[in-house]
C-alpha cells in the first residue's frame, strides 16, 4: 500500500510485474480488461488477464501490403505496433441490433434491444488510437445526435494508454501530430522502458486505481530515457505526410487529377482499408426476419464507401468506378472530414497501407496529387 499521495503532474515508476495488480484492481472495479495479444500471427485486441497474455518480445515488420510478427527475446510488452484490429469495434461494433419489430395480434410493434453497455478497461492504447477515439467521438457524440450505445460504452471506458517508442514502418502519426506521445484522453499513461513502466495520471479514476500500488517517483535517468525514446520515435516513423493542413484545399481542387486514375488501376475495391481504419464510420441497415416471420431485427452493420451498394441510386449508381470510390475515401478522410467535424479523419496509424493487398500507400497517393497539381479552371 502506497502511503504517498499521487498528483496529476508527477510521473511515477511502477515495476513491470505490478501491472498485473493494476489489471486485477480494474477487474475488481467491474471492468473487463482488454489488450493486445498475439493471435494467428497478428497482434489483435482481446481479453487479457495480465502480462502473460501480452505479446512480450514481439517485433512487427510492416510495409505496404506486408505484415509479419517476429518473436524475439527483448523485454518489452507493448513494443509491437497494432495489427489490422483497432479499438473501434468496442464502441462501434461491426454488427449491432438497433431494435426489433415484433408482431403481436397481427400488428407490428417495435421493441428496444436488451441494454448492455459493458465496462471496458482498454490496456495499451497508443496515441494514434487515442486520437482515433477523439475523432470517433466527434462522429458519434454530436449536439444534434448521440449514438446511445457508443455513449454508454464511452462513459464507462477506462483507458490505460501507452506511449509509442517503437513506431512501425507504415506509421506517420508524427506528421499529423497524433503521436508518438499521448497528450490527453487517458486515465493512465504508460511509457515502457526496459526495466520499468513510467506512469502518468490522466484522471481521478486513474489516480484512484494507481494510488495503492507500489509506485515510486520516477528518477531523472528514467525520465530522460523516456524523452530520448520519444524523440527517437519521432524521427523513426516509417512514413511522412508533410503539411497536412493544406490537404483539404489541395484535394478539393484536384478532383480530376491523374493520380486518381493511377491508383484506381491498382485498387481492388476490397474495402480492407475501411475495415482496419480506426476512424471509418459508414454503416448500413439490414433487416433480418426470424424463421417464424413474427420478429424482424433491424441491424446496424459496418459498411464501406468501396462497396458499390453504398452509392446506389435508383436505376444506377452515383459512383460507378473504382476511381470514384477510392477518391471518395481519400477526399472524405482528408478534406470533407475537416468541413464536417473540424479535424482530419486520419490519425496516421498506417493500417491501411499495411493491410492493402495491392500495397497502395496513402501517403504516396497524397504526395502524387499535391506535387503535380492540376492547372486551375475546371469544368462549367
Amino acid at each position: 500500500m502506497n502511503e504517498r499521495t499521487l498528483t496529476a503532474d508527477v510521473v511515477v515508476a511502477l515495476p513491470k510485474l505490478h501491472l498485473d495488480d493494476l489489471l486485477a484492481a480494474l477487474r475488481q472495479r467491474g471492468y473487463q480488461t482488454h489488450g493486445p495479444r498475439l493471435r494467428d500471427g497478428v497482434v489483435a485486441y482481446g481479453p487479457i488477464e495480465g502480462l502473460k497474455d501480452l505479446p512480450r518480445g514481439v517485433v512487427v515488420h510492416q510495409d505496404a501490403g506486408r505484415y509479419r510478427a517476429e518473436q524475439t527475446d527483448h523485454p518489452l510488452y507493448f513494443a509491437a505496433t497494432p495489427g489490422a484490429d483497432s479499438w473501434k469495434r468496442y464502441l462501434f461494433p461491426p454488427r449491432r441490433e438497433l431494435f426489433h419489430f415484433h408482431r403481436r395480434n397481427g400488428r407490428w410493434e417495435t421493441a428496444a434491444p436488451a441494454a448492455e453497455a459493458p465496462r471496458y478497461a482498454l490496456i495499451g492504447v497508443r496515441p494514434c488510437e487515442l486520437a482515433a477515439l477523439a475523432v470517433q467521438d466527434a462522429v458519434f457524440l454530436r449536439e444534434d445526435f448521440t449514438d446511445p450505445h457508443y455513449h454508454a460504452v464511452r462513459e464507462r471506458l477506462f483507458i490505460v494508454a501507452v506511449n509509442c517508442l517503437h513506431p512501425g514502418d507504415t506509421c506517420f502519426c508524427a506528421s499529423l501530430g497524433t503521436g508518438p506521445e499521448a497528450a490527453s484522453g487517458y486515465d493512465l499513461l504508460l511509457t515502457e522502458l526496459d526495466d520499468v513502466f513510467l506512469v502518468a495520471v490522466g484522471s481521478e479514476a486513474g489516480r484512484e486505481v494507481l494510488q495503492p500500488l507500489p509506485w515510486e517517483p520516477a528518477t531523472a535517468f528514467w525520465l530522460s530515457q523516456a524523452q530520448r525514446g520519444l524523440e527517437h520515435a519521432r524521427q523513426a516513423m516509417g512514413r511522412r505526410l508533410p503539411d497536412p493542413q493544406s490537404l483539404p484545399e489541395t484535394l478539393l481542387s484536384n478532383l480530376n487529377h491523374p493520380a486518381w486514375d493511377e491508383v484506381a488501376s491498382r485498387c481492388l475495391s476490397c474495402a480492407n482499408c475501411t475495415q482496419v481504419c480506426p476512424t471509418c464510420f459508414c454503416w448500413d441497415v439490414q433487416d433480418e426476419i426470424a424463421l417464424d416471420g413474427e420478429t424482424v431485427t433491424r441491424f446496424r452493420v459496418w459498411d464501406s464507401c468501396f462497396s458499390p451498394q453504398l452509392s446506389y441510386l435508383a436505376g444506377g449508381n452515383a459512383r460507378t468506378t473504382v476511381r470514384a470510390r477510392y477518391r471518395q475515401w481519400v477526399t472524405h478522410k482528408f478534406a470533407s472530414w475537416e468541413r464536417q467535424f473540424g479535424t482530419l479523419g486520419c490519425v496516421g496509424c498506417g493500417r491501411c497501407i499495411t493491410w492493402c493487398p495491392a500495397g497502395i500507400d496513402i501517403t504516396e497517393t497524397l504526395a502524387a496529387v499535391r506535387n503535380t497539381p492540376q492547372p486551375a479552371g475546371g469544368e462549367r
Partner: protein, 289 residues
C-alpha cells in the same frame, strides 16, 4: 451548408437509434403505372400534433423485413392531419410501399433535411423546374404559394415527364392555374393525341423572359436535367445564389450519421436535399463524386 432545424419526431436523445413512429395508410392513389401517392396519418395523436414539415423535406418510411426508404413529403404543409408521399417503385421497399392498401401500417421517421426557402422568396418571381417524380417535393411549395399568393410575384412551373401518362397530379393543374401559377408542360415522346410540347424540360425556358435580379429558380429532377436547368438559368443571368436544387442520394439513416449520402463534404440528408447552387457548384457535375 444551410441548416434548417425543424421540429422532428426523431428525438435527439432517443434511447434507441432509428426507431420509427407508426402511421396508418389512409388512402392510396395510383398516379401512373409505377407511381402511387400514399396518404398517411400518424397513429399517435400527440405525434400528429407535434409533427410539422417544410416543403422539400422527407421522411424515412419503414416496412418491417424490407427496410426503409427516403420519400419526399408531397402534401400541403398547412394540412396537419395527414401527410402525402408520392412513391416511385424503383426498389424493394418503394415497390412494396406502392402496393400498400388503406389500413396498412408504415413506420415513419422525420421530417429530415433542408427545405426550399419559400419564405425568403416573398416578393420574388419563382420558376419551378422539374421532371418526373421531381414534382413531388415541389408540390408543397405550390401549395404554400397558393396559400399566400399575394406575397409572391410571377410563378411558373416547368414540368416534364417521359410520356403524357407519366405526368403527375394532372387533375390539379387547372386549380394551380386558377391561382395564377403558369403551368408549362412537355414530354420526351408522345402519341398523336398529345397536343402539348414534345421536348426536354430545359427548352421550356425559351418561353420565359425572367428578370434575373428578382427571379429564383427551384429545381428537382434527374441530375442531368438539373445540369441543363442551371445552364439555362445562367444563360439568362440568374445568379447562383438564386438557384436551388434538390439532390437525391442513397440514404440509410436520414440524419447524417451513416455516411451513405455524401456529395463532397455535404450529407444530402442533413445539409440538403435542398442546396443553394453557389454552395454546390464546386462539386456538382464532378464525375462520380
Amino acid at each position: 451548408m444551410n441548416p434548417n432545424p425543424t421540429a422532428t419526431l426523431a428525438s435527439a436523445s432517443a434511447d434507441t437509434l432509428l426507431v420509427p413512429f407508426w402511421a396508418e395508410v389512409v388512402a392510396v392513389r395510383q398516379e401512373t403505372p409505377n407511381v402511387a401517392t400514399l396518404t398517411l396519418r400518424l397513429e399517435d395523436a400527440d405525434a400528429r400534433r407535434r409533427y410539422r414539415f417544410k416543403p422539400g423535406q422527407f421522411n424515412m418510411l419503414s416496412l418491417p423485413g424490407l427496410g426503409e426508404a427516403a420519400i419526399s413529403i408531397s402534401s400541403d404543409p398547412a394540412e396537419r392531419d395527414t401527410l402525402q408521399h408520392t412513391v416511385r417503385a424503383v426498389g424493394n421497399v418503394s415497390r412494396a410501399l406502392t402496393r400498400l392498401k388503406p389500413g396498412a401500417r408504415v413506420g415513419l421517421r422525420g421530417p429530415f433535411g433542408t427545405a426550399w426557402p419559400v419564405e425568403g422568396c416573398r416578393c420574388r418571381d419563382l420558376i419551378l423546374v422539374t421532371g418526373g417524380i421531381g414534382l413531388a417535393p415541389l408540390r408543397p411549395v405550390i401549395y404554400e404559394i397558393i396559400n399566400h399568393r399575394a406575397d409572391f410575384g410571377d410563378v411558373t412551373l416547368l414540368y416534364g415527364a417521359r410520356t403524357p401518362a407519366d405526368l403527375l397530379y394532372t387533375d390539379e393543374y387547372a386549380a394551380w392555374e386558377a391561382h395564377d401559377i403558369r403551368v408549362l408542360l412537355t414530354v420526351d415522346r408522345a402519341e398523336a393525341d398529345w397536343q402539348g410540347t414534345v421536348g426536354v424540360v430545359p427548352i421550356l425556358f425559351y418561353r420565359l423572359r425572367p428578370h434575373p435580379e428578382r427571379t429564383v429558380v427551384f429545381s428537382c429532377g434527374p441530375e442531368i436535367m438539373m445540369h441543363f436547368v442551371v445552364y439555362e438559368a445562367m444563360a439568362r443571368r440568374i445568379p447562383y445564389e438564386h438557384i436551388y436544387l434538390s439532390l437525391e442520394r442513397n440514404m440509410k439513416c436520414g440524419q447524417g450519421l451513416c455516411g451513405h449520402c455524401q456529395v463532397g463534404p455535404y450529407f444530402v440528408c442533413r445539409d440538403g436535399p435542398v442546396f443553394r447552387f453557389d454552395a454546390l457548384a464546386p462539386f456538382f457535375g464532378v464525375e462520380g463524386l
